[in-house]
Amino acid sequence: MPAVYIVADNIYSPIGTTTSQNFERIKQGISGIQKHSNKTISDTDFQASLFNYKENEEFNTLSNSKFERLLIASVEAALKDAGVDVTSEKTILIVSTTKGNVSLLETNPNDAGLKNRVALHTSAKIVARHFGFVNQPLVVSNACISGIMAILTGVRLLQSGRYETAVVVGADEISKFVLSGFQSFNAISEEPCKPFDQNRTGITLGEGAATIVLSTDVKYADRIKVLGGAVSNDANHISAPSRTGEELSEAIDRTLSMAGLKPEDIDLISAHGTATSYNDEMEAKAIALAGLETVPTNSLKGYYGHTLGAAGLIESIISIQSIKQNIILPTLGFETLGVSNPINICTTLTTKRMKTCLKTASGFGGCNAVVLFSK
């Protein structure tokens, strides 16, 4: 099967609007998370990484929703100078999101028009039309693994030969719908989240968008490659992760064997690390089961919060920058290991020669996803 290369990428987040701006600021320890008093989202104050009003105003096509403006802004930035022909029949747009335009349910009358406006395929078509994609866009909506699944779907569609280029974009906004839901689960942390820490008390949410452009064109052979990936299901519980971590571990094993690599070949793990008690415990078990407990592992949730349908993309792009620049980022919010297995959580910014990075995620519905990148 042909190799799949990363041609271009973008992170459009409260931290910055380009990949390099995001990476530079994260290197400086800057987080997008702060306390918000916003009654349209929550009656009580809450921690989150949100776009400020001014940045919202900077979007120019106001007939589109905030969700669609985020998708468009990120794709536009990624395509700038990428030299990709989006109007080719060999190019496909893939959109990753968990809730898309759901915030319109909070503000708009519930009529027949709203159903179509909230439909995820409607947003995808708006973005496709904006840029002139000729193929029907694909929408992945598979909870918190959507971003990684969208990358893997892009890889598969390219390897099938049906397409040569895939523009994979993900976004989610934080609305009352989403925040109240996680609050109803008692899953939201009072303080900025503390992934893998013994005092972690839950998730901090964040909004953002990110884009990865994939290609099988060998002219990109010097770029980062996607070596493989896998998805598994816990078959255990719809809102709680596996008790053993076996299923995530199995997806890691499958990914490594696809790439012909061994655990010792992995230089960095970008974990899901949501900072809920159960998620981080399950991930630590899975990482240990896969024989990766000594591999430097971080969670980026302390910088971005949990960006839902964008998370897999944002965190993949940052991790790719890490291996490109040989810089391991610390896990912001982490102090003392609070999981049963002694995995190697990164605490300081360090430089190390690196070649490969594994990105993992897990989500509601018992789903797990893994993707492997290499120089």
Partner: protein
């Protein structure tokens, strides 16, 4: 282009070994009506399907309509299908619909004005249905949920065939499960590598033929 040719050359035939349609208050298994309960609303209809097939699964009653519909269709689909011959990680699901979880999104949003309900919020993701089916059957393989305006047989055929032909899966449940208020439709296919009695080739044409079955419209 060369990869297209290689793929065609290597293409292994897969088979639809079972299919189920639930639409307009009728359940069809392999295109034959097996249960009908017209004149009732969706929740009552779904319960009557559960009772008719003498299913005993207490988790069913807490599911949202989308999960109930997909779960019931899978129960009928797998009846006598011998799915237990596979290892858990060899069976996966590739499902799609137009309205994601909007039916439950609306119900959850109504609860937010009062007390936000975690029991409703958990169903505001379409892949929860996949989770419910996996829990019931101990399926641990690859799964995915895609959103399309209309059922895209060509995409499903291509994507599922790739998962089977590259040995990511040995069997895959794929198709469409959509619910929004009173509108609903579920058409699921069990796709396997080995031909069985009554199986038909797994092709976009056959998916579309079953999805738009003329027999269904005649009833």
């Amino acid at each position: 282009m060369i990869y297209n040719q290689i793929f065609k050359y290597l293409h292994i035939n897969n088979y639809i070994t079972s299919n189920v349609t639930i639409s307009k208050n009728v359940v069809y298994h392999n295109e034959r009506p097996v249960f009908e309960n017209s004149g009732v609303e969706l929740p009552a209809f779904l319960l009557s399907v559960y009772q008719h097939f003498e299913l005993a699964y207490s988790k069913f009653h807490k599911m949202d309509s989308l999960s109930k519909l997909g779960w019931l269709a899978t129960e009928v689909l797998l009846k006598d299908a011998g799915i237990k011959q596979y290892q858990p990680q060899q069976v996966g699901l590739v499902l799609s619909n137009a309205n994601a979880s909007l039916d439950s999104d609306q119900k959850y949003m109504q609860s937010v004005a009062d007390i936000p309900s975690p029991a409703l919020f958990v169903y505001t993701l379409p892949n929860i249905m996949i989770g419910e089916i996996c829990i019931r059957n101990n399926f641990k393989g690859e799964d995915a949920f895609f959103i399309f305006e209309k059922f895209d047989a060509a995409f499903i055929e291509q994507y599922v065939a790739q998962l089977l032909d590259t040995n990511v899966l040995e069997a895959c449940i794929c198709g469409w499960v959509d619910v929004l208020n009173d509108d609903y439709k579920s058409v699921l296919f069990l796709v396997e590598k080995a031909e069985k009695a009554g199986a038909i080739p797994f092709s976009a044409k056959n998916l579309d033929t079953i999805f738009d079955n003329l027999i269904i419209d005649k009833i």
